[in-house]
């Protein structure tokens, strides 16, 4: 007998998302403004490459044809215009970028792109040779954290990878914060206030009394944190 398999219907999902765009505000005469752009490009070529650019045309009065000319002028400099702002949408050529509204100002880093690329690969682990004291918060999203000493009550260790404590873990340890469910937490003595892996956590209350003060590891079993002795 044949079993019929209904093709799964894909549901279209709409999602909202916000991005940060550079806003250019051209001024009259446009020629001078383009010279300024050229000067910026001469200082750091490729500064605008791949960055979303929005043209704010409220300071200039351009026809649809004039806008198209400006957009193509920018395009010839490698600057692609994502949208327009400060003009009426009606009467604009359909080939022009869409008119955006509702933009809000925000700070953007003005840092020029780094000239020297670090040739070394990013360090996958962070070694702390001193105890982590109450009130200290160590965050290393790039990989593992190893502590040669204890982690005090009220201290917090946050790692993208696993956490190794060669001492007593009394504070909080959060491993696999970037969605790494395979991350684990190891310590020589567990008295933790909280352990978390990939967002799942257990507080001190949940950690069995029989485990306390013993070497232990915490790992994620599905959606449940397991804490097991190490010896």
């Amino acid at each position: 007998m044949d079993s019929k398999v209904e093709p799964q219907r894909q549901v279209m999902r709409l999602r909202g998302r916000s991005y940060i765009a550079f806003v250019f505000s051209p001024f009259m005469p446009i020629v001078n403004w383009l010279e300024e752009i050229d000067a910026t490009l001469a200082r750091s070529p490729g500064f605008f490459v791949g960055r979303p650019i929005v043209l704010d045309l409220s300071a200039v009065d351009l026809s649809s044809h004039g806008i198209a000319h400006l957009v193509s002028n920018l395009e010839s400099r490698g600057i692609r215009v994502l949208g327009l702002e400060g003009v009426e949408a009606t009467g604009l050529d359909a080939g022009l970028p869409p008119v955006l509204i509702g933009g809000r100002g925000c700070a953007i880093e003005q840092a020029e792109p780094k000239q020297v690329e670090d040739p070394r690969p990013p360090t996958p682990s962070l070694l702390l040779q001193t105890p982590v004291r109450s009130g200290q918060r160590i965050v290393f999203a790039e990989g593992d954290i190893t502590v040669l000493g204890s982690v005090g009550s009220g201290a917090e260790i946050v790692a993208g990878g696993s956490i190794h404590v060669y001492g007593t873990l009394r504070g909080r340890a959060m491993a696999g914060i970037n969605g790494n469910a395979a991350a684990r937490i190891y310590c020589q003595k567990i008295e933790a206030e909280l352990v978390a892996i990939d967002g799942y956590y257990q507080t001190a209350e949940d950690i069995g009394e029989t485990l306390r003060r013993r070497p232990a590891q915490a790992w994620l079993d599905g959606e449940v944190i397991r804490i097991t002795p190490l010896n």
Partner: protein
Amino acid sequence: MAKVLVVTSGKGGVGKTTSTAAIGAALARDGEKVVVVDFDVGLRNLDLIMGAERRVVFDLVNVAQGVAKLSQALIRDKRLESLWLLPASQTRDKDALTDDGVRDIIADLRTKFDWVICDSPAGIERGATLAMRYADEAIVVTNPEVSSVRDADRIIGMLDSKTVKAEAGEQMKKHVLITRYDTGRAARGEMLSIDDILEILAIPLLGIIPESQDVLKASNVGSPVTLNDAASLPARAYTDAARRLNGETIAMMVPTEQRRRFMDRLLGRRAA
């Protein structure tokens, strides 16, 4: 070479001021030239414990702001002539102190004394960070109970990050001083044990000061406990602690339950 020492704890009421006065006096009695500096601007106490409250004219804030000269603000102790006090202001608050002002005063005191002992205010805010900022060494005072020990741990973290010495990449020498150690409660297991405290804080032990009425009696008469009754248990423990600071090796006494039998169990642990 002068040594600048900060007496700090995070938590209030653990015995910073009592310890500052007692250790300062013990060092001075051993012939060192000592100044104790009250950093608790707004809530000064050290002048009372030292019995100098009626002789305060100028204070730390006046000197920091250039209103008075250091020599005008320093008060010489009436009992020991190598012991001096630089009082805090009671009418101002901690914001009256500036980083530069404190730096200059400490630098000046270094040229005049063997020991500059800074009595830190409680807390982790400006007053406490300025008191520790220019120190070479620290005494972290704690009581044998969890909240005090956790606060001490926090303060040790700050000593290792917010002091000039730490910022220069050097290791600051730190000692833990356990105060108000109650022999009766220790015997009944009602306090954190010495071993637990040392395991949590992971810094060397400078001394264990027993809980005693002698401390209260001494502060009521305005005298450091080491001068008021030098033979009392806390006085002897403080004197030993001061000598360890000065580099002597003295076996650690753990106060025990029996009265009149303080010459007791040796812990076998040595001071830093």
